[in-house]
Amino acid sequence: MNDATIFGLCAAVLVGLGVYGLIVNPQPLRKILAFNVVGSGVFLLLGAIARRGAGAGFGGDPVPQALLITGIVVAFSATALAVALLLRLHDATGSVTLSSDAPPPPAPAADVDAA
């Protein structure tokens, strides 16, 4: 079993753990972390594919590495947007839950130009 296969299996485990975490955890921050775990699994898979495609003296195929870097940037900006929304939700409601079962707090006046 060469290293590309080991890392590929590792990636599969990460994806499985992340999807489980996304579905089971009710707290939004844990969902964001679980999304990052799934993303790490997918990028690890790309790395394994790069390693498997190595040739002509290179350590790995450069094209999947380029895709990998772009993917990391996209996932990072997705996480940043999600965390910003979460922080704003906490500021507005004082709690961080996605469920609307809790009795609504007194609604603040609609703010058009809050900083």
């Binding site: 999807v19 999304f35 996209v74 900006s77 939700l89 507005a92 409601t93 996605l98 707090p105 809050a114």
Partner: protein
């Protein structure tokens, strides 16, 4: 493969909106609105120029980024589907832009206000991302475009900053991210199997094998989560409940079209030989259930905005009926024929009609101060332009002559007859009746004479209302496609007995369903109790499916279902 003349226009169609976003962000103040309006005109011009270049050359426009050809480089490609969507989306965005000038103008005496500033920049960002979705030539650029579309669409939900809308936006973002990471995983698997992600090259190398089946199932499921097809629709109703009208129009009419277009690209251009008969039936089946379930839930809504949101969910089901009907059973793969044309017509007419309906509903909300259906008596006389826009939009969706949806329905029924899949004919007919039910409901409520004259809370700008009317007229005018590329025999004489009977039966069944299911005051009559319990069951199952763990498990079940359907 080389860059064709006119290929540079493809780059401009993506670049101009994003340059507008950056310029608006840097200049600030009132400039985002001015820059956005200028960019709308420029972008519409670019879309029309692309259509002109495409018609003149007769083949797809290609642009090689950096001059490098695939598989090393990235190509932008515009074929007939792309060009149609580019022009249609440009028209819809211009309509929404004109409408939003009333709602999102910066107030006098303030240098800058957050909601207008954000809205105009996000509108341009959505437009740029959609153009990128339509012209991308490889799966990874499509992933980037899809993510851009999500990032631009999510903040539109929470423009007013209340806790409830922030919650809806976060729910939307998290579910959309789950969908896009499934899509990325599938794309990575395809790259590992075939060595390239460029669409024509991939289509040549793809074989029906387990890796490709897994990738296809994962990618399709991820895209369905972003398109809010049953049962992965949990984010759409809450997102619409609190969003401003222009934002709802963008979300329903445009953003979900991006991921739908990706499913079309994937199935027709990358996987036509891999997709099996059962997989196409599964996709169409999900669409059929969506139409049935969400039409009934729409009838039970108290608010006009939520009724239109649930009608969007039902119409999204319609968009997926083209897949089983495009399957050539003899050849064993998908063909680009009448069903694809029907799907395009359905998508474009839905985009225009739904945007018009949300805009009209927004005008009604602004004028009345509420959008409760029970309190809408007399609005037809008070706001005639908006009522006409709402009515025309609804009629256009119903599939009665003349409208784009009518042509689409005819083409789909012809395809169903031709391929022997008679069950889809019944689905189409039932769908027509269900769609007319909630349109009849809204029109009936609006035309009722009120007990006392309607008091308008404030005057709504005529320009805004006319923009909504213009878009719904576009939806109706799509029937003119029969004069051009489509055979004129599709439009039968509307007064011929068969056509008239079909129309009357459809509208009659719709009216009966509306009367049966619409929520009214408590009534001990047996039929009302049956209606309440049946309607309540539909509503409860929709609420059950919208719980996060259930939706997550549905995601896995749908992926597994596609995987199994692709193997058999």
């Amino acid at each position: 493969m080389t860059t064709t003349p006119g290929g540079l226009l493809l780059v401009l169609s993506v670049l101009v909106p994003f340059v507008g976003v950056m310029a608006g962000f840097v200049l600030g103040g009132r400039n985002p609105q001015r820059i956005a309006l200028l960019t709308l005109v420029a972008g519409l011009g670019i879309a029309l120029a692309i259509a002109d270049a495409y018609l003149r050359s007769g083949s797809a426009l290609v642009y090689l980024l950096g001059g490098w050809a695939p598989p090393l480089g990235v190509a932008l490609r515009a074929d007939s589907l792309s060009v149609m969507m580019l022009v249609a989306i440009a028209v819809v965005i211009c309509g929404i832009g004109v409408y939003a000038c009333a709602d999102f103008g910066t107030p006098e005496g303030r240098r800058e206000a957050r909601a207008p500033f954000s809205f105009w920049l996000l509108l341009l960002a959505v437009w740029g991302s959609l153009n990128l979705v339509f012209v991308s030539g490889d799966l990874f650029t499509l992933y980037v475009a899809l993510e851009l579309l999500t990032f631009a669409g999510v903040p539109l939900v929470c423009l007013d900053g209340r806790g409830e809308t922030l919650r809806a936006a976060l729910r939307y973002l998290l579910f959309a991210l789950l969908g896009s990471v499934f899509y990325l995983l599938g794309a990575v698997l395809l790259f590992g199997a075939c060595g390239t992600l460029d669409i024509p090259l991939l289509a040549a190398r793809v074989r029906p094998e387990p890796v490709v089946w897994t990738a296809a199932a994962l990618m399709t499921t991820g895209l369905l989560a972003k398109t809010a097809l049953f049962p992965l629709h949990l984010w759409l109703p809450p997102a619409h409940a609190g969003a401003p009208a222009a934002a709802s129009a963008v979300l329903s009419a445009l953003v979900v079209k991006g991921s739908w277009f990706l499913v079309v690209r994937l199935w027709f251009d990358v996987l036509p030989g891999v997709v099996t008969f059962s997989a196409a039936q599964v996709l169409g089946g999900l669409g059929a259930v969506a139409i049935a379930l969400f039409s009934v839930v729409a009838l039970r809504q108290q608010r006009l905005k939520l009724l239109i949101a649930y009608s969007t969910l039902a119409q999204i089901g319609y968009l997926f009926l083209m897949f089983p009907l495009a399957f050539d059973i003899a050849a064993g793969h998908l063909v680009r024929g009448d069903a694809v044309t029907a799907g395009m017509l359905q998508a474009i007419s839905h985009a225009t009609a739904k945007a018009a309906m949300f805009m009209a509903a927004g005008s009604i909300y602004a004028a009345l101060g509420h959008d409760r259906l029970a309190g809408m008596a007399g609005i037809a006389r008070a706001l005639p332009i908006s009522m006409l826009a709402l009515g025309l939009g609804g009629v256009a969706l119903m599939g009665v002559l003349p409208s784009g949806a009518y042509l689409a329905k005819k083409l789909l029924m012809g395809a169903a007859d031709g391929s022997g899949q008679w069950w889809w004919t019944w689905v189409l007919l039932a769908g027509g009746a269900l769609t007319s039910s909630y349109v009849v409901l809204v029109i009936a409520r609006a035309f009722r004479t009120p007990d006392e004259p309607v008091q308008l809370a404030k005057q709504v700008s005529r320009v805004a209302q006319s923009a909504a009317l213009a878009l719904s007229v576009c939806s109706v005018l799509l029937a003119c496609a029969a004069l051009g590329p489509l055979p004129a025999s599709l439009i039968a004489n509307p007064l011929a007995p068969k056509e008239l009977m079909t129309l009357l039966i459809t509208v009659g069944c719709g009216g009966a369903l509306a009367w049966f299911f619409a929520a009214r005051a408590a009534d001990a009559h047996l039929s009302r109790q049956v209606a309440r319990s049946v309607g309540g069951t539909f509503e409860r199952s929709d609420a059950f499916l919208r719980r996060w763990p259930v939706a997550g498990i549905s995601l896995l079940v749908v992926a597994g279902g596609f995987g199994w359907a692709l193997v058999t």
